[in-house]
């Protein structure tokens, strides 16, 4: 059977942003195609688990140093069988986890945590608060500056670029 569903269509399907007719077409195909059914289940699981874990991580921000590693491991253990995320819209917490994963191999995991904590502090970010584009940009700027203070300007540029490349779904975190 021909697999005609594009990656973008899959992402829109999981995000429930397709038109009803398009969604019905994909559902009909999935009911007949075993491969696509497996893929759809994986994507749906990823989306659901990440949403759940984001809720957990939101509460963990107050215990950033101790809890986040455990929660990150827990999250990754659960979502690992599902697959990976490439270009969906990222929640603020998804983005924070990803940026920290980018910094850790360069500065060391504890330094990445410390840098992020400093950026939180300087940006006045507290759990449960809602973010807009300007506040995210301010946070990114503080994160780049803190990271650059130990890893250099190129490191700061890297974090800035990566942060700006993420399509953020602004909201409460």
């Amino acid at each position: 059977m021909e697999h005609w569903i594009s990656p973008q269509q899959w992402l829109d399907f999981v995000d429930r942003t397709l038109t009803p007719s398009e969604e019905a077409r994909i559902t009909a195909h999935v009911s007949q195609c075993k491969d696509c059914e497996v893929l759809m289940c994986g994507l749906m699981d990823w989306h659901r688990l990440l949403t759940q874990e984001t809720q957990l991580l939101r509460h963990s921000l107050v215990y950033l140093d101790v809890e986040i590693d455990r929660l990150l491991d827990h999250t990754l253990n659960r979502i690992r069988p599902v697959g990976m995320k490439s270009h969906w819209t990222w929640s603020v917490l998804d983005a924070l986890v990803l940026l920290r994963c980018l910094m850790a191999p360069i500065s060391g995991p504890s330094a990445a945590r410390a840098v992020m904590a400093v950026a939180f502090d300087r940006s006045g970010m507290t759990p449960g608060r809602c973010l807009n584009h300007d506040q995210w940009s301010q946070f990114l700027s503080n994160l780049s500056e803190a990271f650059g203070s130990i890893c250099g300007l190129e490191g700061a540029r890297l974090i800035g670029h990566a942060g700006r490349s993420l399509s953020i779904d602004y909201g409460c975190y």
């Binding site: 986890v97 990803l98 060391g108 890893c151 670029h161």
Partner: protein, 302 residues
Amino acid sequence: MRRVTLGLLWTGVMVAAVAGGAVRVVQSVQPSSYWGRLSAEGDQPLNSVAYAIALFFCLRITADYGKGTPMRLAWMFMAASCSTSLLRHVFELGMVQMGLANTMRTTLVSLRQIPTELSLVFMAASLLVMWRSFAALGLGVRFKWFDWVLMAAFLFLIPLISSSPVEMRDSHSAYTFIRFLQSASPYCLAVVAVLAVFLYRTTTDLGAGQLSLSLWFVLLSVALRLFVMLLGVWPSLSEHPMINIASRGTFAASHWVFLLGMGYRWLLTVSNSEMVSRYQQSAEAELAELSRMVMTTSRIRN
């Protein structure tokens, strides 16, 4: 580029260690022959090359920090330390070439103490400012009992080295100032060693990463120099031929170990720069790769 650079630097460490040991072997077998005299400072060209490359790396790393930032100042001090070390080794090499190393050992050659001590002062300043940059982020400020023991041990070494019956190389210089500098060298080295403990705590706090790896090599080079200095002033050890050879080889290698630290730090900047370019070209592909990396890392850890 990364593999070639690191390969060359690691080769340099091994070559320097062998050359340092060989110099001591030639000196002990034929001390008064032409080769024995010539090899007295035979590893100096390698040391000079190490510090010349280290200076190049330091200047490039300095440029990677914003103007007026503490880390930029720290790397400027490190560059100054490399410059004075380079000056010292080139000076010693020149003395050997002019035949002054043996005939005027206690006068002209002893002037090497000026760049030697200056290098230690700059190194201490660099380590202090570097540590303060990390301390501003809360890293390297929670000392453990082991750190205090290490610092106490280094401070305890000062009177031990100063009172050693084995004389230091320039302790009979014709210049009073040089004799003073020579007697101050254990104190300078102890200060550097104590600050190295500060940085040791910082690298431990940083966790495994490219940055801590580069700092580890700097710390290792300081530790090696201290170890060699201790061997040199310990009467029963300083006369043992095998220990003599090993200590000379270790001392020669320590300069290249220091250079390795600079090299790893410079490659961190290079790889950051490359990643920036990749993000500029295709951010989506990079983010997908990053997601994949997160998965792989997690799989390895678990």
